[in-house]
Subunit: 230 residues, 2 copies
């Protein structure tokens, strides 16, 4: 198993440091790290350090930095506009998409979104889910979850009726690829038309109908192969 990853605002310089606060508590009490074991510190912006635990206290660990690394920012960035979904399907989508490399998630209230977000709590849950999933996945760059319905320029729209396949469509040379995934009920015809007139290409994966919590993960997997990341 990989060493556990903890998020810090600022990476320690070389030498010894103390990890306290919620992450220190997690390291000492939940992960139950012991002296001699390894951990990773990450700032969520590409910077990381490996360290070896020297002592464990109540709610903190001390450790010595053994190495550091900076991972360049992903290029292009992978943005998924995710139709908000009922129950825990949205959080499942956020969790799995974070594991497979999404960089930005835009929660989208689609015409057929059954769930309504009446306050800030669902957005806070998506953000917490993305943060935890990024830690679990040992990702050096934390994904961003934007506010609901921020404007976006779609590159591709997943549509089970599309003729073009995501596996073979030309990938544009852009800073970010923006993929739209509909909610449970799919994307309404007027929404599809509006995305197309904004320059998006409608694409599909295979012949099956994918749930909204599966479609983004599958599409990101395809893009990861095509971009040479996997």
């Amino acid at each position: 198993m990989s060493a556990p990853l903890f998020l810090v605002d600022v990476l320690p310089a070389a030498g010894s440091f103390t990890l306290d606060g919620p992450e220190g508590h997690h390291a000492a009490t939940v992960q139950r790290l012991r002296a001699g074991e390894s951990l990773i510190l990450a700032d969520g912006r590409g910077g990381s350090a490996t360290a070896e635990v020297t002592a464990v206290g109540k709610g903190f660990v001390t450790a010595t930095v053994t190495g550091s690394h900076h991972e360049p920012a992903p290029d292009p960035r992978l943005v998924v506009v995710q139709g908000i979904a009922k129950g825990d399907r949205g959080e499942l989508a956020v969790q799995a998409m974070t594991e497979v490399g999404v960089d930005t998630i835009v929660p989208w209230v689609a015409a057929r979104s059954v769930a309504k977000w009446r306050d800030e709590r669902p957005l806070a849950r998506w953000r917490a889910t993305a943060r935890e999933a990024a830690k679990q996945a040992r990702r050096p760059w934390l994904p961003t979850v934007t506010p609901v319905d921020v404007p976006f320029k779609p590159t591709f729209v997943l549509d089970e009726a599309a003729q073009t396949r995501l596996s073979t469509v030309d990938l544009p040379s852009v800073d970010e690829i923006v993929l739209v995934v509909g909610p449970e009920g799919g994307i309404a015809p007027e929404e599809l038309a509006s995305f197309e007139s904004a320059g998006a290409v409608l694409v599909r994966l295979g012949d099956s109908v994918l749930r909204t919590s599966t479609a983004g993960v599958a599409a990101l997997s395809v893009l990861s192969v095509r971009l040479g990341r996997w």
Copy 2:
């Protein structure tokens, strides 16, 4: 949206037929089909028929066959040996893998499987989950969930420490590709060694650590592209 799919033991001949039993109840009461709407009947073994509803009764619909199709059996078959996992992670894996095209799932009690299956209920849940997911996904071939720990010959084993990538590894010309996905805690070194001596290649996807409920879906997505299915 695609027409809803219902499973039948035997497909109707051309002409009119009545769909009753649990699937008829589902069509009439849950899906609330109306006269003039379309549905798909499938036998789960590649055969399907499209039909148009002519009448809806209490717990049944009558419909007229408008077309039929036989989808050849998948070649190669995609088999996933899935380490059994805690909570609902196993069912989430079964559900999403069914959507993206798994043909056979072998529940595997790995050395690090925390969950224990003490009776037939977890297996029954996996089977019911696969059946429902196949219907949702409109899959013409139903996947099979074998009994726990049936013998298998592994082709690939997902291992985050592997050097070889699933996206570029040679795919053998075989009737079935058998992919092993570990439980939450990963695959134990002695298990990896045993798979390797049985001829399996250890492969990875990207640099992230994937949950057991995400790894199979991502790997099947990669294989679907490589096999020209997507």
